[in-house]
Each structure stands twice: as C-alpha cells, then as structure tokens.
Symmetry: C2
Subunit: 362 residues, 2 copies
C-alpha cells in the first residue's frame, strides 16, 4: 500500500505538534501542550451530531517540571516514530511501539498504559484516529455476513469481496483499519449486530439475511473500535438502519451504549465511532415475561450495574428508565439464546420480525 | 447443505446407544452405559499415534439409582434431539441445546456444564466429534493467511477461496466445522501458528508468507477445537511442518502443549485434534538472554505454573526440562512482540529464519 494523500495529512498534523514546540522555544518560551480534561465532568452532549464529546475544560502541560518535560519528550519521540512509519508505509501494534520505546533512553515508557494514553492524546490534538497513524489494535475479529459487496485495499492490492458469495460460513472478518474499505454495492434493508457467535450463526443458518435483506454483524462481546467504525460507516454510507441484539443484562446494555452513545474513554472519537441512530432490539427486560423466557436471578453485581445505569446520562430516556426499573423489580435477566427454549426458529420467525415491525423497519 | 453419508453414520451411532438400552430392558436388565474414567490417572501415552489418550479404566452408570437413571434419561433426550437435528440438516450451539432442554421436563439440564459433559460422553461413546453431531461452539475466530487454496462447503453452496488472493487483511476465518473444508491446492513449505494478532499482522505486513511460502495462522490465545483440527489437517494432508510461536511464559507453553500433546479434557479427541509433529519455535527462555529481550519478572503464579509443568508428563523431555529450569533460574519472561525492541523487521529477518534453519525447516 503506497503513501497516500491521507498519510501526508496525518504526517503534517503530527509534525506540526513538534513545530509548535520549536516555535515556542525559538520565541524564548517553555514548550507546552493543551489537552481537553478527560473526566466524566467534561463530557457534553452535542445536539447537532447527537454524540457525547469532550467539553471545553482543558489541561495544559508545560515543560517547567521534570514530569511534564518528560511527557513532552516522550510525545516527541512518538511523533518521530509515527512520522517515519508513515513515510515507509508501514504499521505497528500499540504493543510493538511500547517495545520500540526501549531504545528511547529516558523517553522509554514505563508501562503500556502510558503509551496508550499518549496515543489517545495525539488523537485528540490531531483530530485523527490512531488507525490514521497506522497503529493497529492487538485484536479485531468481528465479522459480517450479508448482501454487501465491498473492496478492501490491502497491502497486497485490492480485494473485491461479496459478503455472502465470496466468504465461508464465518463471514467476512472486519480488518483493523476500516478506512481501507470501499462499499461497492449492496442489497440490504438494515443491519443487525449481535452479541454472541451463537446468534450470528443462528440467523445465518435460518437464512434471515436472505429473507429480510439483512447484513448480519457479530460484535464478539464489547465491540472493538473497528467494529463500531464499520457500523457507523454502513449506517451513514449505505443509509440503512442499525439494530443491536444483545443479552438482557446491564453489561449488554453497555455494549449498546458504546455503539449508540459512545464512551468517556473514546469521547474524542465519537464523530467517527458512534452510531446515534442505532436502536436496541433486545433482549428487553419486558421480553422476559412477554415471551416467558428462561431466566437467571440478577446477581449483586448486576443490580449495582443497573442502578449505575439509572444515573448514566446516556440512558436518561423514558424507554431505558422504564426497562431498567422493570428489571430491578422482577430481579431477572435472560440471554439472547434463551429464545431457543421455544424452538430454533422462534427468534427469526417470531421475535425479530415482531420487533422490527414495531420499530417500522420491516 | 444436504443430509450426507457422514450424517447418516453419525445418526446410526447415536441411535445405537438408545438401541442398546432397549435391548437391555427387553432382556430384563437395568439399562446401563460404560465410559472411560476421565481423570489424569487414566491418561496414557499412545506410542503409535504419539498422542495422549484415555486408558482402560472405565466407569459404569446403571439406572438402578435415581441419579444414574436421570443421567440416562437426559442422554436419551439429547440423542433424540441430535437425531432430529441431523435429519433436518440443521445445527445448534451447545448453549441453544441447553435452552432447548427447558422443554424436557425432568430431563432438563440444571446448568450448561452438565449438558457439555454429556455431549463429551457422547463423543467418547460414538468415537465422533460434536461437530459431527452439528453442535457448534459459541466462538471460533482464528484465521489463516497464506498460499492455500481451499473449498468450504457452506449452507449456501461451495466457496472456493485462496487464502491470499481472495481475502482481506484479516485473512480467512476458520469455520466452526473444519470437516467442511477441502484443500484444493497449495504452495506452502510450512505453517507458522502465532499466539497474538500483533505478530500475525507483523508477519503478513513483512511479507513472511510470500518470502518463505508460509501459511500464517493466528491462534487467538488458547486455540479453539476448530483451530487445532485445522492445524492437524494441514499438517497431515498438506504434508508440511507446523511450528508454534508464542510468548515465553508458562501459559503460552500450555498453548503449545494443547496443540502438540493434547489435553485431559479432550483426550478422547486426540486423534483428530492433536498435531504431535508440531514444534515450538519460541519465545524460549534461552532467547531472553541470547537476544537480550525486554522482559518482565515472573509472578508467583508464573513460578507455580512452571513448577507444575515440570511434573506434567507432556513436558517430560530434555528440551523442556532444560528450558523450564533455566526460566525458573533467571526469573524472567518475554512476549513475542518484544523482538520489536530491535526493530520491526528483526523477528522476520533474523529470529525466525535462524530458528527455522536450526530446525531444518528452512
């Protein structure tokens, strides 16, 4: 993959950070850098884009203490490393960069948390994602199956792949950098993202994607950035709705929230990672009694997590308040595969079509 | 995917279990079933196949107690469910089957562990794998990239896929049932299986697969059954060596052991899951000083695990005794990505070629 226009822009923004320090020093100033304060108190809802973002509170690091000077030195080394990596059209993992810092003497990172945080700072300052810096995550692994024809620009050239006709049963695995994908053509009416591999395989086996022109996406638990970016891009660029199908417990509602509302940790990436139009299709606490689902008693941890959700601004809607209160009242949770107790076809023939109709999607 | 000859054999073997009970009852006997004892004491090394298997100790369950009668009743229900599933050319997850048992009255499973154990018993009795019963695992997810052309028989028809030319950067994801794959053609000299996604991406980016005609396989930590089966089949049917590249710590050595020697839990599946010819390529404890790798101090848990390995019959070779004792002596461990401290090319240009030459593979 050759050096692209995008790589050039990325490199310029990174180098401009170092250029600013140079300018400060040339003007007789101590070099410094200002970043938004990354706490819950500095998260604000942006009505225009419908996502949560950092507010206006900022923290300035000035190299007039050894600690801040060292931080700026490390950032300078990282900028240098990324500049070279972009120049050579290469990439690396966050873990590899941490090990590479072994050769940076005093700028060596003490732990990987430190280098990860610094990369997030660079994302904030440059308004670019770490994928633009050619930094790969350790794992990706989510996959899609459905009527979508795409082109992935790989290091070995372009690959045109139809996500039903050119893939095996495990589907098309989403690469770590979703920006290398171009959507060629599709015949899909909506996207359904699922928490478990069992449900993904169930919908595929039952032909749900063919019957309803649906793109199936396996989230593999808490979704990776590449998976959230893929959902966002499909929602925007294909112009079709996204529904999220998870287990009915607080940890699963947080999976939904990370997709639809974003997270504090990645609030600076909300514009590219968050799909505000994504809707929750279940399992809803009200489904447990409505469908007489096998269920488990809430643990203490579940109850505490549900109570925390009641104070989470992302869940401050009538729908969620009602469902969470109901769940605390009945004290039960159910998994998405619990629909199997009514037969292997129930979820695709009854539950999902009913819910999709209610939502106006079918 | 239609009902196959293999499905027919599977069905016959399952039904014969119930037929035996019928015969016992018709002859005035209390129905019973005998299974190998599944403990460490009943694991034996089979020199012919070079894998660890269950020995001759057996346990008989006779339906003359309520507990054993209930166990046999549950097994009868599972046999009935699997028979119908095979007849209809369908499949399900272990989790779905657990939920389906909701409708089996007294034969309902109390917990999923119980139904999983029962499926393992059926594997032992039928000498078939649960994949043959059309029972899917929850997750799969390992992937391969390299000069291999294969055909996957999917529920939507055959898919011919070349694992470099027809896949994106994430590679070809291994499906849950590897028996549906047919190897068409290949240009590979060996297979290298890696613990981390970072290393898999590193070898791909550096063109290691092209330079050395290697098939890259990402294990994704402790490998799933489908991954181990894929390694076994490639080793046998392509007739090329397999090397395993992991971090240098006791948990990673166990990944190697599960591939090369098998495990107690799946000793009845050793013939199809274990690759005795697989060899460990590193990170070896001796590499930490030989290559001056960044390292971490062993934790108490690491030390205890290393000591346990010294008494594990699977590691009772001169090579492993030497390496484990050395590691306990130096008190250090290193990750496979630690080679990045010597540059992003070091692992593919120096370390792996050197080790592969020593092993006689390059």
């Amino acid at each position: 993959m050759a050096y692209t226009e995008k790589d050039k822009v990325t490199q310029e923004r990174l180098v401009s950070i170092a250029a600013d320090w140079y300018g400060q020093m040339a003007g007789g100033q101590v070099p410094s850098i200002t970043l938004p304060t990354r706490t819950k108190a500095n998260i604000e809802y942006d009505a225009k884009t419908e996502v949560w973002k950092y507010g206006s509170k900022g923290t300035t690091r000035t190299a007039n203490s050894a600690k801040s000077a060292l931080h700026i030195l490390k950032m300078a080394y990282v900028v240098g490393f990324l500049k070279q990596q972009l120049n050579e059209s290469r990439s690396s993992t966050l873990r590899e960069m941490y090990y590479i810092s072994e050769g940076w003497k005093r700028a060596k990172f003490a732990a990987q948390d430190e280098s990860n945080m610094l990369v997030e700072d660079l994302e904030i300052v440059t308004k670019l994602s770490r994928e633009a810096f050619h930094l790969r995550p350790e794992e990706d692994g989510a996959s899609i199956y459905g009527p979508l024809h795409l082109r992935e620009q790989t290091k070995r050239g372009n690959r045109d792949i139809h996500c039903q006709e050119n893939v095996g049963e495990a589907g098309y695995p989403i690469p770590s950098n979703v920006e290398n994908i171009k959507f060629l053509d599709h015949d899909a009416s909506f996207i359904i993202a699922m928490e478990t591999g069992g449900m993904y395989a169930r919908l595929m086996e039952n032909g749900f994607d063919e019957e309803h022109n649906a793109i199936l996406l396996h989230l593999k638990g808490q979704p990776a950035r590449s998976t959230r970016r893929m959902l966002k891009r499909m929602n925007n660029e294909l112009g079709i709705p996204v529904v999220i199908f998870t287990d009915g417990d607080p940890w699963s509602y947080r999976i939904f929230a990370s997709i639809a509302y974003g997270s504090i940790k990645a609030a600076h990436m909300s514009d590219i990672l968050v799909t505000p139009a994504a809707r929750f299709i279940g399992v809803q606490p009200s489904d447990i009694s409505d469908y007489n689902l096998p269920s488990d008693t809430l643990t203490e941890g579940d109850t505490a997590a549900l109570k925390a959700i009641l104070t989470d601004p992302r869940f401050d809607t009538e729908y969620w308040r009602h469902q969470i209160r109901l769940q605390l009242e009945i004290g039960l949770k159910s998994e998405q595969q619990a629909f199997a107790s009514r037969g292997l076809d129930y979820v695709t023939k009854e539950y999902l079509p009913t819910r999709l109709s209610e939502m106006g999607i079918l």
